[in-house]
């Protein structure tokens, strides 16, 4: 009969779709030990670049390593959620988003605390010399980034409502283009575009000044929990390499600038300058932060995103605490 056939086809379709849907379910499942590590990087100016330059990942982790370059923490989150990468680099805003949305990750390392490396720049001639002057102006920033978070907080601290300015969501390269054509008046960005904008602009505030007022932003490394559970040694080794890299940055900044400049193909002076605009934590400071303040920073970030109506709800502090671990730093420091 025709109709039984139709029903059979429909049933098959339902089953296929359900099975297909099941593929997406990577969260919560356990994994077996892997002989591979896929690292997602944003090429942020921190120890990660030194580790890349020295080929530490490939030579010292003892597993096959693949390094994939991403443009934003948002893409890192998608890749983590789908299980395409195992360890990813992202700022506090994407990390808070990931935890709030139940992506099964752990924060294992603080790559840097962002200082003046993220700055709100106003274009010369736009008539902006303070945050108050931003009213009625066009400000660009990549949405859902740490810079976006800092910008919104900077406005809030000055009592400026978001509706009093025009906020534009653009990736940093687009910001550079729009700046050159005079389409925007100000932008909250990071390097290398920040360097370009400062040639024709002036700093209004930066993430260092905001950090002093309690608005802390940082860059982290997060790992998929399932990968960390199955491969704790690889993750520990990864953190050990970050510690080694931070030693170079903090104790031999000349060498660090040299290596970072080569990795990013920028001038050594620029690299040396950029290093001074972040804080890099040693093992003790890492443990102190990861055990105490950092979950709170992530929670604050998530709460702010709720206030912005970007996400519907944020989990409680306990959940964030369970997602931030000093375990790997402790083990790495002991090695």
């Amino acid at each position: 009969m025709k109709f039984t056939k139709i029903i059979a086809v429909a049933a098959a379709a339902v089953l296929t779709l359900t099975a297909f849907a099941g593929c997406g379910n990577k969260n919560g499942s356990s994994e077996s030990k892997s002989d591979k590590l896929v690292i997602g990087t944003l090429d942020l100016v921190n120890g990660d670049l030194i580790a890349q330059y020295e080929n530490w990942y490939t030579n010292e982790l003892g597993v096959k390593v693949e390094i994939i370059k991403f443009d934003s923490g948002k893409d890192i989150n998608s890749a983590l959620a789908s299980g395409s990468i195992d360890i990813g680099q992202e700022g506090t805003s994407p990390a808070a988003l990931a935890i709030s949305n139940g992506i099964d990750i752990e924060v294992i390392w603080i790559g840097d605390i962002i200082g003046s490396a993220e700055t709100l720049v106003a274009k010369n001639g736009a008539g902006i010399s303070s945050i108050q002057d931003l009213k009625g102006k066009k400000i660009a920033t990549p949405f859902a980034s740490t810079a976006h978070y800092s910008l919104l907080n900077a406005l809030k601290l000055e009592g400026i409502d978001e509706s009093e300015v025009t906020l534009l969501d653009m990736e940093t390269d687009k910001i550079n283009a729009a700046w050159q054509t005079g389409d925007i008046d100000a932008a909250y960005v990071w390097y290398p575009v920040l360097g370009e904008l400062l040639k024709d602009g002036v700093s209004i505030t930066d993430s260092k000044q905001l950090a002093d007022k309690g608005i802390v932003t940082a860059d982290t490394n997060v790992v998929r929990k399932a990968y960390a559970d199955a491969n704790p040694d690889v993750v520990t080794k990864f953190v050990e390499l970050q510690l080694k890299a931070n030693d170079i940055i903090n104790n031999d900044s000349d060498k660090a600038a040299e290596e970072i400049s080569k990795q990013l193909e920028i001038s050594k002076e620029d690299a040396a300058d950029q290093i001074t605009q972040f804080d890099y934590l040693n093992a003790d400071q890492q443990i102190e932060q990861l055990d105490n303040g950092f979950a709170g920073t992530l929670k604050d970030t998530a709460d702010f995103l709720v206030e912005q109506k970007s996400i519907t709800s944020a989990p409680d502090l306990k959940e964030f605490e369970s997602r931030v671990t000093s375990e790997f730093v402790k083990k790495a420091a002991a090695n």
Partner: protein, 257 residues
């Protein structure tokens, strides 16, 4: 009314199967909400955004902004690409002048040249409209050319024998005879423009249905993404139906040669 055919039932079954699979997959709780949000949460996000809007604009404003961009660019396409295409089909010299440009940019992905457009025209509406315009121009132009070339010589010779001049031939023979192809081009163009819309709203937009989906995806709001995609899908079908309806009114002789 004709009796609905078995094909209609089959289409309904496909749609129903997908919706049922969606319910089944999400109700068991085995699938993470991030990957496939439940129909309930998608419906709820629809209600919330309907009531409170999304990031400063209501849902209708988002949809309206997008439709305005689409319609303006589309009308510009229609009034320029149709004449250009028909004339190019009629006159091979004009065709030789225009065709290289079309052939070059037509296969390009819009995002590839969008950066150039934003550099030239800025980040406001102009560059978005230009992108949509370019996306829609080529399909209309090409089918108009094809439509004119396809016309049987007999028709034109017949008109010539009856003493028609070139202008009369163009308006009374070529234009009506090419209309079927013109409408094929118009439908294709609308589809292409619609798919380009999200790309156009990627840079520095603050409203628009495509922008809403992109923005929500940054915050991992799969429920809003699903809702936006469904709305875009339905709107796309509706727009296509409108063109089909207009076509039916204009070319009432279709299929009867």
């Amino acid at each position: 009314m004709k009796k609905p055919k078995i094909e209609l039932y089959l289409s309904i079954i496909t749609v129903a199967a997908i919706i049922i699979a969606w319910f089944v997959a999400t109700s068991s709780g085995s699938v993470d909400q991030l990957f496939i949000p439940s129909p309930k949460s998608v419906w709820e996000s629809f209600l919330t955004i309907w009531r409170d809007g999304y990031k400063g604009s209501t849902l209708l404003q988002h949809l309206g902004t997008s439709m305005k961009r689409l319609v303006i660019a589309y009308l510009l396409c229609v009034v320029t690409a149709v004449p250009a295409g028909l004339i190019s089909g009629y006159n091979s010299k004009v065709r030789a002048l225009i065709e290289p440009i079309i052939e070059f940019y037509r296969p390009l992905p819009p995002l590839a040249y969008y950066t150039i457009l934003t550099l030239w025209m800025g980040i406001d509406e102009e560059s978005k409209l230009a992108l949509l315009y370019l996306a829609g121009f080529a399909p209309i132009y090409i089918s108009c050319v094809a439509g004119v070339i396809r016309i049987k010589e007999d028709y034109i010779n017949g008109a010539l024998t009856l003493g028609a001049n070139k202008r009369q031939i163009f308006f009374y023979v070529i234009f009506p005879a090419a209309l079927t192809d013109v409408f094929t081009g118009l439908r294709t163009a609308l589809g292409v423009e619609y798919t380009t819309l999200v790309a156009a709203e990627m840079v520095a937009a603050t409203a628009g249905i495509g922008w809403m989906v992109l923005d929500a995806s940054k915050y991992l709001r799969s429920d809003i993404v699903f809702m936006g995609v469904i709305i875009m899908g339905i709107t796309g079908i509706l727009l296509d139906k409108i063109i089909q309806l207009v076509e039916k009114q204009v070319i009432h002789w279709k299929g009867r040669n």
